[in-house]
């Protein structure tokens, strides 16, 4: 409402128009992709779709998945006020002289402007029955990426490191290569963690920051899991299970006890009989958090004196059992040593013996002890029964039942997990699930809905692994998608006011389409000083964008032209090879001379060093100016030489040749008077030839105008009257000079 306080008296009420993303939003199609609709890319995408539909583990199509997806954080209605309101039942907009108009932003692909415009001229409209709306609304669909600047910069340098890796000597050796990739992957995760930390440091966290933190947490979970599953291969020493456990506890940590649970535990007369206590203990055991589990167990050891009291004896038995369980947990073989097979088997049999030996009157206690031992010895039913999510169940199963398993074995353990648990349809869970299944292409297609940064960078790094080999020699689609994802990520950077350089650097790694995008965007970067301009040119130079480079330099030259800074204009037009425009500037200067008789451009030319390769118009101007300064300094011989050069170059417009010819008159006179040989005979013949050229019918008109202008100042500036339309003074002087030459010659 606040937008139109002045219209409050109007009969029409202002109803908000809303921007509401449809429930299916971006996820169903290629996204609000900035990528060109090339058949090639579509074909690739279609294959991905087909892939998904075959997904036996899902048992349902992708469409369903998306429908279930209610986790989209951004479904808030946005309100835009257009004036007046539209009502379906009224014909107001149809019959009024108004309609909405829309225009996309010229440099930002997700911004556009809306406005209300008139359909007919007011001359044609009888009634003025409308509410005037003269506003232009600028709408933007993009998220602000500014807050990610530090992260993007850091991630970019890791990206570059990854791009360089294949050229290093370590790359040739497989184990070294794996280590290199692992390090790079670790650096990415570190960058993500750093960003999460910096977000958490922000004192006031609005919803946007909360969302950002959760997105980055998802990114961390996915990336770390990929690192564990795909990047670490050799020299693992059966570490997968512990790695997964660490991952789970890092990315999906066991939450603290709730207030309620704490109260329950606090108020409980006997923890041994408290359900909450045991369920917490199960969690600790499942997640391999043994020190904490041991502390928990210790807390229920009852201090008793040894008597013959039966009850107390019972307590002692229980205490003994607790001690045995603690001992059992403590003696669990570490999975980091080479030869754990035997130790493991020994330990398992100890576990099962202990399990069999527990017989208690208190069945509740007995059950719980046995359950803990079952979990420890890897009983799948026990593990899954006590897990509260598929991730917890899966990781606990791997850790307790298959502690020595390899990446490729993980998928065979998944069956029972998914019988018991369903996976939440949010993209992160779906992606994680597919990473466990080693269906990396599918996993990535879910990453699409998480964040373009994750998608592009993870794909890029995965492309550098021998993943195809590892998972059955199947050719992976990610190689085909890599470039598309990178471009999609980089496009918003290209038009970002600060991150544009990074954006273009990314395009350098897109062999197929990178250059096309660069060409389309590089000219769109605004610049208002020379430093930024030079930086834009560097991008053109680095990527061979010759045409765009010239175009940008021309724009700079034109900007200077507009404010009449001709030296800068000339320098830039020379750089851009704009010979025609230089000629035009040259003509402006010559016209100035013709108008005023003064060389107004000498300071401009002072700033422009010329050599023989310089543009001919500029060279001519420079020579012509030299002529004037030589005359001024009374170096007549040199001045005459330069004048001849100027004429012979035939660069100036033809009518200006006449001016040059006029210049010869005083020199010829001077030569005759003082007996200096300023011109050769051949020069004189040339002068006569040039006279005929100037008087050519085709240029007569412009010539006449020129002489008229010159007449205004010629006497005052030079002291000579000898100027006329027919060039007669020149011709006469030429004849005289020639005769004089002949005379001298014969003498």
């Amino acid at each position: 409402m606040s937008l139109f306080p002045e219209h409050n008296s109007n009969i029409l009420q202002f109803t908000p128009f809303t921007f509401e993303p449809p429930p299916v939003d971006y996820s169903q199609f290629e996204g609000i992709s900035s990528f060109p609709s090339s058949t090639q890319f579509y074909e690739a995408s279609v294959i991905t779709e087909a892939f998904l539909k075959e997904d036996a583990y899902l048992g349902k199509g992708k469409g369903k998945q998306v429908e279930e997806n209610d986790l989209k954080p951004e479904t808030r209605k946005q309100t835009i006020f257009l004036n007046p309101l539209f009502k379906y039942d009224s014909n107001f907009w149809s019959t009024s002289n108004q309609s909405t108009g829309v225009k996309f932003h010229p440099t930002r692909s997700k911004d556009f402007a809306c406005y209300v415009f008139g359909k007919e001229p007011k001359e044609k409209v009888k009634k003025e029955s409308f509410t005037l709306d003269t506003q232009i609304y600028n709408c933007s669909l993009v998220h602000d990426i500014d807050s990610r600047r530090v992260f993007y910069n850091e991630a970019f340098s890791i990206f570059r490191e990854a791009a360089r890796a294949p050229f290093s000597k370590e790359w040739r050796e497989k184990s070294m290569r794996e280590k290199l990739l692992c390090d790079i992957s670790w650096n990415y995760v570190n960058a993500i963690v750093n960003h999460i930390k910096s977000l958490q440091e922000i004192p006031i966290k609005d919803k946007q920051i909360q969302n950002e933190i959760s997105t980055f947490r998802d990114m961390m979970a996915i990336w770390e899991l990929c690192r564990i599953m795909y990047f670490i291969k050799s020299e693992r020493y059966q570490r997968l299970s512990t790695d997964l456990l660490t991952w789970l506890n890092e990315c999906y940590p066991l939450g603290a006890l709730t207030e309620e649970e704490l109260n329950e535990l606090r108020d409980s007369p006997n923890l041994r009989n408290t359900v909450t206590f045991w369920s917490r203990l199960y969690k600790l055991i499942l997640r391999g958090l043994f020190p904490q589990a041991i502390n928990f167990l210790r807390s229920i050891i009852m201090a008793v004196e040894i008597t013959s009291d039966q009850i107390i004896n019972r307590e002692i038995i229980i205490n003994d059992i607790i001690q045995s369980v603690i001992k059992c947990i403590k003696s669990r073989p570490k999975m980091s040593s080479y030869d754990t097979g035997l130790a493991w088997r020994n330990w398992l049999s100890q576990c099962s013996q202990l399990q069999k030996s527990i017989i208690l009157e208190n069945k509740f206690l007995e059950e719980n002890f046995i359950m803990i031992l079952k979990i420890l010895s890897g009983d799948p039913d026990a593990i899954l029964a006590k897990s509260s999510s598929w991730l917890e169940g899966l990781v606990a199963l791997v850790y307790h039942k298959y502690p020595k398993c390899e990446t490729s074995d993980v998928r065979s353990t998944l069956g029972p997990v998914f019988i018991r648990f369903s996976v939440h349809p949010d993209p992160t869970s779906q992606a994680l699930k597919r990473i466990f299944y080693q269906r990396i292409d599918d996993a990535l297609s879910y990453c699409k809905h998480i964040d373009p940064w994750l998608l592009s960078h993870l794909t890029d790094l995965l492309c550098k692994t021998d993943l195809d080999e590892t998972i059955g020699g199947k050719s992976l689609l990610l190689h085909q998608h890599r470039e598309g994802y990178l471009i999609k990520f980089a496009e918003p950077l290209l038009t970002h006011s600060t991150l544009w350089q990074v954006g273009f650097k990314y395009l350098e790694h897109c062999e197929k389409f990178g250059k096309v995008f660069m060409e389309e965007f590089v000219g769109k970067i605004p610049f208002d000083n020379e430093r930024k301009f030079e930086k834009i040119l560097k991008i053109c130079e680095d990527n061979g964008l010759k045409f765009d480079e010239k175009c940008i330099i021309t724009t700079m030259g034109t900007k200077y032209m507009q404010i009449k800074r001709y030296a800068s204009t000339i320098i830039y037009y020379m750089r851009a090879g704009k010979d025609e425009s230089l000629k035009a500037i040259c003509n402006i200067f010559l016209t100035q001379y013709v108008e005023s008789g003064k060389i107004m451009f000498s300071e401009v030319l002072d700033s422009i060093p010329v050599d023989k390769n310089s543009n001919e118009s500029v060279n001519f101007l420079s020579r012509y100016r030299l002529y004037h300064s030589l005359i001024q300094d009374e170096f007549y011989v040199q001045a005459a030489q330069v004048l001849v050069e100027c004429l012979r170059s035939e660069i100036s417009p033809k009518e200006f040749w006449g001016v040059l010819l006029f210049h010869t008159v005083p020199l010829m006179k001077l030569g005759r008077r003082k007996g200096i040989k300023l011109f050769e005979k051949i020069h004189i013949d040339e002068f006569i030839y040039y006279c005929s050229q100037v008087l050519d019918k085709r240029i007569e008109d412009s010539w006449l105008k020129l002489v008229q202008r010159m007449k205004r100042w010629h006497y005052k500036e030079t002291g000579y009257f000898d100027i006329s339309e027919d060039l007669n003074p020149v011709k006469i002087e030429c004849e005289r000079y020639k005769k004089n030459l002949e005379k001298n010659h014969s003498v």
């Binding site: 908000p16 128009f17 809303t18 921007f19 509401e20 449809p22 971006y26 199609f29 290629e30 609000i32 060109p36 609709s37 090339s38 058949t39 995408s45 779709e49 951004e74 808030r76 006020f81 257009l82 309101l85 539209f86 149809s94 002289n97 309609s99 909405t100 108009g101 829309v102 225009k103 996309f104 010229p106 440099t107 692909s109 997700k110 556009f112 402007a113 809306c114 406005y115 415009f117 008139g118 003269t134 506003q135 232009i136 600028n138 933007s140 496009e491 389409f513 096309v516 060409e519 389309e520 000219g523 605004p526 010759k546 045409f547 175009c551 940008i552 034109t558 900007k559 507009q562 404010i563």
Partner: protein
């Protein structure tokens, strides 16, 4: 002026202070200047600097409502073209220090000029105009300051809009770089009019003539606007047209030799006349504004169907 900002959708209003209806709003090449034109016969220029907007100039001279404005590429200078109900096309230039001057008047049309559009900068300064006199004209500006005007008989009753094709030759993945930019560039534009047709015009370098290259039939009422999509050097060409018949048609040409294939943006009609269409920078999103005060954004999906991405709706 009021600015409303939210997390995932930002919009800002700019009060133009025109005294009558606005007809067009056009951002310059860098998106830093806005030109608007109005029934009040003026054109206003605004500097946009971040969230700051400053009105810098009001251009007066037209003797009727000004329909449309268009900015030339900055390498030609700060130049704006405008067209008006008075039948004239003006070219304006900023001579520095904010001193705007009218540098050309194009008066060959005999009725309201409804649309002007500068061609791709690769073609040099070239302007197409559409007029209610049924004609389309093309102005070519030369280095020496002179200009050529070609007037083409285009749409009976009236031509409503023009839109230029990208200068890149379709199918040439790499855009014309360096060398002579005139080789391999496409010099084409589309026009639409009251004869319910969209026409494609192409310039032949051999005959030095503009020729009608194609006529696209599909609308059943006046065609209001036409927009040629950027193609990023890919072989496909997309053209969107919208009409009084309440439909939007996407015309697609898969390669330079294949025919234009027609597809309605959506099977059912819009609720009201569709007045304007606009493509995003990368040519992947189409914005449609219809007379029912709705702006909808569309995108082609994997199955080559058009889907609504966002909607401005109540």
């Amino acid at each position: 002026m009021s600015v409303e900002k939210s997390k995932n959708f930002v919009h800002q209003g700019l009060e133009t202070h025109h005294e009558d209806m606005v007809h067009d709003a056009q951002l310059d090449y860098y998106g830093l200047k806005l030109a608007t034109c109005s029934s009040d016969r003026t054109i206003k220029i605004f500097d946009l600097d971040g969230e700051e907007r400053r009105e810098v100039e009001t251009l007066k001279g037209h003797e009727g409502p000004v329909w449309r404005v268009d900015w030339a590429h900055p390498k030609f200078g700060v130049i704006l073209a405008s067209c008006s109900y008075d039948g004239k096309v003006f070219i304006w230039k900023d001579h520095g220090a904010g001193s705007w001057k009218k540098i050309k008047e194009h008066t060959l049309h005999t009725a309201s000029v409804n649309s002007v559009a500068w061609g791709p900068h690769e073609l040099g300064p070239i302007l197409a105009c559409a007029s209610s006199d049924g004609k389309v004209s093309v102005l070519t500006f030369k280095d020496d300051g002179s200009w050529d005007a070609v007037v083409l008989e285009a749409h009976s009753i009236g031509a409503n809009s023009v839109s230029w094709a990208p200068a890149t030759i379709p199918g040439a993945l790499v855009q014309v770089t360096g060398g002579a930019p005139n080789v391999n560039v496409s010099k084409r534009f589309a026009s639409c009019g009251c004869d319910n047709l969209v026409k494609i015009w192409a310039y032949s370098e051999d005959t030095k003539e503009w020729k009608e290259e194609g006529t696209l039939e599909g609308h059943t009422d006046w065609v209001r606007d036409v927009a040629w999509a950027p193609n990023f050097g890919l072989p496909q060409n997309y053209l969107a047209s919208c009409s009084q018949d309440k439909t939007v048609i996407i015309w697609k040409k898969n390669n330079p030799n294949s025919p234009w294939v027609k597809k309605f943006l959506k099977p059912e009609k819009f609720l009201d006349v569709v007045w304007s269409v606009s493509w995003s920078l990368s040519g992947t999103i189409l914005a449609v504004a219809s007379g029912d005060n709705k702006v909808t954004l569309w995108q082609e999906n994997l199955k080559s169907e058009w889907e609504k991405v966002q909607e401005l709706d109540d």
